[in-house]
């Protein structure tokens, strides 16, 4: 991505040898990213070698199993959406990571899962994940391609189509895990009206309030990326979760120290100078 797009030559055009290079990040950012990656990799390696880590409880993720149990008891399907973005958005990948676990649970509990898709590119990956998950549980016959409908790349049409699926099938549980736009409220409110237990996870700032108000559980920001790893409890994944928390702690420390220096460097805001009356 070229910064200052309005003024850069070739902005918005096909990348060429001269302008397709990634952004030249400042050294501070490179060092920070390297340390973060180092911490994450170290935790993953330690976890693989057998070190036990405690990971904090995330109620929203724990509730996924509860929601599926409810669907089993009621004998109704569940609906799962990975949002409106394509593979260029990490949130879609996070949604698909959770989907594979949810699909296996569905196969075990014999619950039908409907996954309406907004991007044609995501359709085949989603169908493949469902098929593989059912096959892994020995229930390949449960897979029906019609349960992975591609609705539309248009946000409005996608929202309307998904709402239609929710209402017609009277879903018992709804999972919104990925990147969303304004349709977040439309989906969540519909789920609320039909009495579905709803779990949402997104890193889109502006949709988080809607999900918090209308859903039973909401995973905010990084919890979305942690969900897939949290569900498996596999040592390497648990290690990455611990590394993730350490990374956040590190950023918090940098913020605190940076804020203190910023205040200190402004003479008129320096608390010591203020106290001394200078």
């Amino acid at each position: 991505m070229w910064h200052g797009a309005g003024h850069a030559v070739g902005a918005g055009k096909r990348p060429t040898a001269a302008n397709s290079q990634p952004v030249d990040a400042p050294w501070s950012l490179r060092i920070l990213a390297a340390i973060l990656c180092g911490v994450l990799l170290a935790r993953m390696i330690f976890a693989k070698k057998g070190r036990q880590y405690f990971i904090r409880r995330i109620p929203g993720i724990d509730a996924i199993e509860e929601a599926m149990g409810r669907a089993t008891e009621m004998g109704r399907p569940i609906i799962y959406t990975t949002g409106i973005n394509s593979f260029d958005n990490m949130q879609t990948l996070a949604g698909l990571a959770v989907l594979s676990w949810v699909a296996r649970q569905c196969a075990r509990m014999m619950v039908r899962i409907i996954v309406p898709v907004c991007q044609p590119v995501v359709v085949s990956a989603t169908a493949d994940i469902l098929r593989e998950s059912f096959r892994a549980e020995g229930r390949e016959e449960m897979f029906d391609p019609a349960d992975v409908p591609f609705l539309s790349t248009d946000q409005n049409a996608y929202a309307a189509g998904t709402i239609g699926f929710m209402v017609r099938n009277e879903v018992a549980a709804a999972f919104y895990i990925g990147g969303f736009g304004f349709e977040s409220l439309l989906l969540a409110e519909t789920g609320n009206r039909i009495g579905a237990i709803q779990i949402a996870a997104t890193a889109d700032y502006f949709q988080i309030p809607f999900f918090i108000c209308a859903c039973d559980y909401t995973l905010i920001g990084e919890e979305l990326y942690a969900a897939g790893a949290y569900l498996t409890r596999e040592p390497v994944q648990v290690g990455s979760l611990v590394g993730q928390d350490l990374g956040k702690l590190m950023i918090l420390l940098i913020l605190a120290v940076g804020s203190a220096f910023a205040v200190w460097s402004q003479g008129n805001l320096n608390p010591i100078e203020g106290l001394l009356g200078k």
């Binding site: 200052g4 990040a25 898709v117 085949s124 890193a203 209308a214 994944q237």
Partner: protein, 538 residues
């Protein structure tokens, strides 16, 4: 997945990931990118080039972090002397997010710079900074001029300033209710500007004027006509309209004649200025100095912006001056692109992305036709809708193929217009209309106070709605009228509370969520890159 398939997928994922990871971490001499700051809107005073650098970017991913626009200075006699002159400050509200488009003047024994500040509320204001030596600058604590919200809610899109016998004159582009108007403010000095009632110029279409410079009453206009490259032309203003005088640089002779202008470029531009991005003019005594910023976006070019300096007594006899670079420019802006084997590899790797996406698109299409085709064949419930979908798909694909092959044919044009503009667009609008009504009612129903978090959100939403949305302001005024009777200035307190909630709490929370999400995204990227993400396995 069998072992071989897994190994192939792993190799591809790791290989492509490695290229981009290296491109991020390695120094630019090996494989990194161009100077991300860029440089634009230059102003020349003596041998000092003042310009805007940096830009604002949303937090898309780690490498697209926010860099506030700032104003820098470069000495053309010694280009190693570069100084960041006015940088955004968290301690100044009016240029909190950025400072751009400098206009520097020498007034008696000191320098004055007028610039556009991007405030904490995202509104642009005309700000002023002063300097005694032209090197060390002190931005003012307050903006010099704030455009009323009724004229332009977001402030000026661009500005240009010049000294006049009466003091100072500023022209800026105001955007209000979808209209673009060039307005004028003038005053005895930069801090005492007042808005003139009459617009200096009404513009016929958006984006038609990108910058202006002056030579006396003549305007030098940089405009984009249609989707073509920007064109420089001279004009005078008659009854609030631009009347083109002469095509100055770029554009075709026929287009100039169509606009009633004298055809034929007035100056010959160096090769790099095929695509002009900015223009500045300054009178220095008898001499007119014109700065043209441009670049060449052809695959052979290095992608850098360059500045050409023209000098002459008038617009008619301008000639390239100080062409210190072999290509005719005075300075090439930004770092040169590094053309290494690694860099070319990264460019080729990026070409794979659209190929893979298009494959995925094709598979999605096949899946769609398969699902709905089966439903039609089996005459399943609702198969009529599936049939409609398949027919619509075929019709649209057929039309687009035909139209792309014969774009001049009336038949294909009409068919494309019928299906795309007369059917697809209205259906999309209708769908949005239906959902919009549902959205409004859903918003009211959704905000139930079911938890402490929901209660806080509802309270905040009520505060913002009552103080910012027109209907809310009306309701708020009714409440405040009652409150005024008991001596409380509810409007002022609520306004401050709203600004505080939006700019302090909201910003802090967004950044907090952003930090967490970035770290989470890095962890997940690492897991995917190293094929460690096995969420579907126990």
């Amino acid at each position: 997945m069998n072992r071989w398939k897994r190994a192939v997928v792993w190799s591809f994922t790791f290989g492509f990931g490695l290229i981009w990871v290296l491109a991020f971490f390695l120094p630019s001499e090996v494989g990194g990118g161009l100077d991300r700051h860029g440089m634009y809107a230059p102003e020349l005073v003596g041998t000092r080039l003042f310009y805007t650098s940096g830009s604002r970017q949303g937090p898309g991913n780690l490498s697209e972090h926010t860099v506030g626009a700032f104003i820098a200075m470069l000495d053309l006699d010694n280009t190693s002397i570069r100084r960041e002159m006015i940088v955004p400050s968290p301690f100044r509200q009016h240029d909190y997010y950025g400072a751009k488009r400098p206009h520097v003047f020498r007034v008696r024994d000191r320098y004055i710079a007028l610039y556009l500040g991007i405030g904490r509320d995202d509104k642009r204001r005309i700000c002023v900074a002063t300097s005694s030596n032209g090197t060390d600058w002190t931005p003012s604590e307050r903006p010099a001029f704030e455009v009323p919200a009724s004229v332009s809610p977001d402030g000026p899109a661009w500005m240009t300033a010049r000294q006049t016998p009466g003091g100072m004159e500023v022209l800026f582009l105001a955007q209000s209710e979808g209209r673009l108007i060039v307005r004028r403010a003038s005053g005895p000095d930069a801090t005492r500007l007042s808005l003139e009632e009459e617009p200096a110029l009404s513009l016929p279409s958006p984006e038609s004027v990108m910058a202006v410079a002056f030579d006396g009453p003549r305007w030098i206009v940089l405009s984009q006509i249609g989707t073509g490259d920007p064109v420089l032309w001279t004009a005078r203003v008659e009854n609030g309209r631009l009347v083109g005088l002469r095509q100055f640089l770029g554009g075709s002779a026929s287009a100039a004649r169509e606009m009633g202008m004298e055809a034929g470029a007035a100056i010959v531009a160096p090769d790099f200025a095929k695509r002009v991005t900015d223009v500045h003019a300054v009178r220095d005594g008898e001499a007119l100095r014109l700065l043209i910023v441009g670049g060449d976006d052809s695959p052979e070019a290095d992608g850098r912006l360059r500045v050409a300096l023209y000098e002459g007594a008038s617009l008619e006899d301008l000639a390239l001056a100080r062409n210190s670079q072999p290509d005719g420019s005075v300075v090439a802006l930004g770092s040169p692109a590094i053309d290494t084997h690694f860099h070319r590899l990264a460019a080729q790797a990026s070409d794979f992305v659209p190929i893979l996406l298009n494959f995925g698109f094709g598979m999605g299409l096949i899946s769609l036709i398969g699902i709905h085709g089966r439903r039609v064949v089996r005459r399943a419930e609702g198969s009529f809708f599936s049939l409609a979908l398949v027919l619509a798909l075929i019709a649209m694909v057929y039309t687009q193929f035909g139209y792309q092959q014969n774009p001049e044919s009336d038949y294909w044009k009409q068919l494309n217009t019928l299906l795309f503009f007369n059917m697809n667009f209205p259906l999309g609008s209708m769908m949005f209309g239906l959902l919009a009504a549902f959205l409004v009612s859903a918003a009211y129903r959704a905000f139930r106070i079911r938890s402490i978090e929901a209660a806080v959100l509802t309270a905040m939403a009520a505060l913002v709605v009552l103080t910012q949305v027109p209907t809310g302001q009306f309701v708020g005024s009714l409440i405040s009228n009652e409150a005024v009777l008991v001596g409380a200035d509810v409007d002022a307190v609520a306004g401050q509370a709203r600004t505080w909630a939006l700019t302090v709490i909201n910003d802090a929370v967004q950044r907090g969520v952003g930090f967490g999400a970035f770290v989470g995204a890095i962890a997940m990227s690492l897991r995917i890159w190293l094929s460690l993400d096995k969420s579907g396995e126990d």
